[in-house]
Symmetry: C2
Subunit: 312 residues, 2 copies
């Protein structure tokens, strides 16, 4: 076996093990101790961050997390990755933020001046705009970790109205319309809730005693946990094609499109305290929506319009 190929396999091996000894390498690759040492030297030259522990029960540790075998990209692929990265980079916060600068450096080191020019030229001609994030989120990585590891957290949560301490178990985090949200199970209220990440003032891991097993719930199905309270109000609106298009662009799990007698309706439920949110949302549909029921919602919307007219 050629040395290069062996080093590549070694990289994978080290990746999986995280921790290994010279003996492991000697056995796995059928090489002498001397060669194993030389191979490790080569890997270190290639930039693999290894740390050696001396003495009995010693061995090697892979630092920083794993290093993968090199991947070769075509320049089209580099363009695509570069722009994907740029698109996310413009987020004020993201759990992957830290990696982007090192990736960028790697790309720019490998790319020829000509390609660099091409990238810059493309940079002037394409962009992915998204709703700007006006609030920074400090705990995205911790929330994500808690979601993956099924950990409980105690958070200090401040809305403009009030400030509370909650014990939650995160299920997922997601970015949407300029904000980061955290789907979680509220261990005190014993119910599914969504939190805005920028409103989390502080965060502590709590011991696992009271944790619930949420491994089966993911970002895609967690809203199944959500059940309207007994105060929830059902609503139904007829909706035009333009309205459907608008709804498709920003959906909510508590609402759905239904078709009855070749007419389309937007139907769902809302909690009384969500009024301040649902009224502007429905108003944003303009004439492309018409409230069928409840009449109270109609009245609220009317009041909203009158209020706005008074404000003019």
């Amino acid at each position: 076996m050629k040395k290069g190929e062996r080093l590549n396999m070694m990289l994978r091996f080290i990746n999986q093990k995280q921790m290994f000894t010279l003996k492991d390498l000697m056995g796995k690759f059928q090489i002498s101790k001397r060669t194993a040492l030389r191979d490790i030297e080569s890997l270190e030259e290639m930039g693999v961050p290894l740390y050696a522990e001396y003495g009995r029960y010693g061995g090697y540790r892979l630092l920083n997390s794993m290093t993968l075998p090199p991947i070769s990209f075509t320049s089209h692929e580099v363009f695509a990755l570069y722009f994907a990265m740029q698109a996310l980079k413009s987020f004020a916060s993201s759990p992957f933020q830290v990696s982007f600068s090192s990736i960028n450096e790697k790309f720019l080191n490998q790319v020829t001046p000509k390609q660099r020019e091409q990238i810059e030229s493309l940079h002037k001609r394409v962009a992915f705009f998204h709703t700007e994030q006006t609030h920074k989120c400090d705990y995205l990585e911790e929330l994500l970790l808690a979601a993956v590891e099924n950990m409980g957290l105690e958070i200090h949560y401040s809305t403009p109205r009030r400030s509370t301490i909650r014990t939650i178990q995160p299920i997922s985090i997601y970015a949407m319309r300029g904000y980061w949200y955290c789907q979680a199970y509220d261990l005190d209220k014993r119910a599914y809730r969504v939190f805005r990440c920028d409103r989390i003032q502080s965060l502590d891991v709590v011991d696992q005693e009271h944790n619930v097993d949420l491994k089966d719930f993911t970002i895609h199905n967690a809203h199944r946990l959500w059940s309207p309270t007994k105060h929830a109000i059902r609503f139904k609106c007829s909706i035009t094609a333009t309205g459907v298009e608008k709804f498709m662009q920003q959906q909510f799990p508590s609402m759905e499109l239904v078709e009855e007698d070749e007419e389309r309706f937007l139907s769902g439920t809302y909690e009384p305290e969500e009024m301040d949110f649902i009224i502007p949302y429905l108003a944003s549909f303009g004439k492309s929506i018409r409230i069928v029921e409840p009449v109270s919602l109609k009245d609220c919307l009317k009041k909203y319009y009158i209020d706005l007219m008074d404000h003019l």
Copy 2:
């Protein structure tokens, strides 16, 4: 020089040249013809897509576009890239779409089963949502190419109102709130215009005769080309902190925030035909905005509210 290192340099060399002969390699790297041939064999084994042309004036061509020297990523970096890619992948159309599947394959080939599991687990716990694209765009790549190459295009452009043939010279394309837009110079109207890419029904390259040099205009400064027509109307609204936050999330080049006497205003111009757009936009601010001038705009907004109330 070691073989590995030489192959790496060769990759860069081939990258720049796109086309080369054995003689080139022999000269550049001071190797014999036989070695050059053996190196090419190695490169081909590594997956570099080379094509040989026989006979006089023959040589090697690099297919597919260029291949870069392999880049080694940490798994954190792969996670970051993977999610960046996922975020863009969910666009119905993008000029980089084609590359994503090949990149995905490359990642999944290199990643260990354990890491794959981690990626999948992360996949269930993080997402970047953005306004869904409800319309497909067929000519993004062509438009981008035209923008980069300063080419003129004849497009068949259909709005719900009318269908026209335009001769344009694209400056940039960008995705925003669920739509792709194309900044361009309209060669017939001799003015800067923005087109919605999904409304472009067909597209043809026109000969370069009448082209304008737009190389200095980029996605970031093209709106300088935009000048209000003589029919444009100036407006000014006082705006609250909430309103500022909303405006920051979706800005328009024709509007700006100004501060006067410690009070903030949203100021700008609009064309009479943009009324249908600006009224719902201002309405979406709710009470966080108050029209100062013109009175006509105030009246229109009032009429809009009355109209909506009638529609209830």
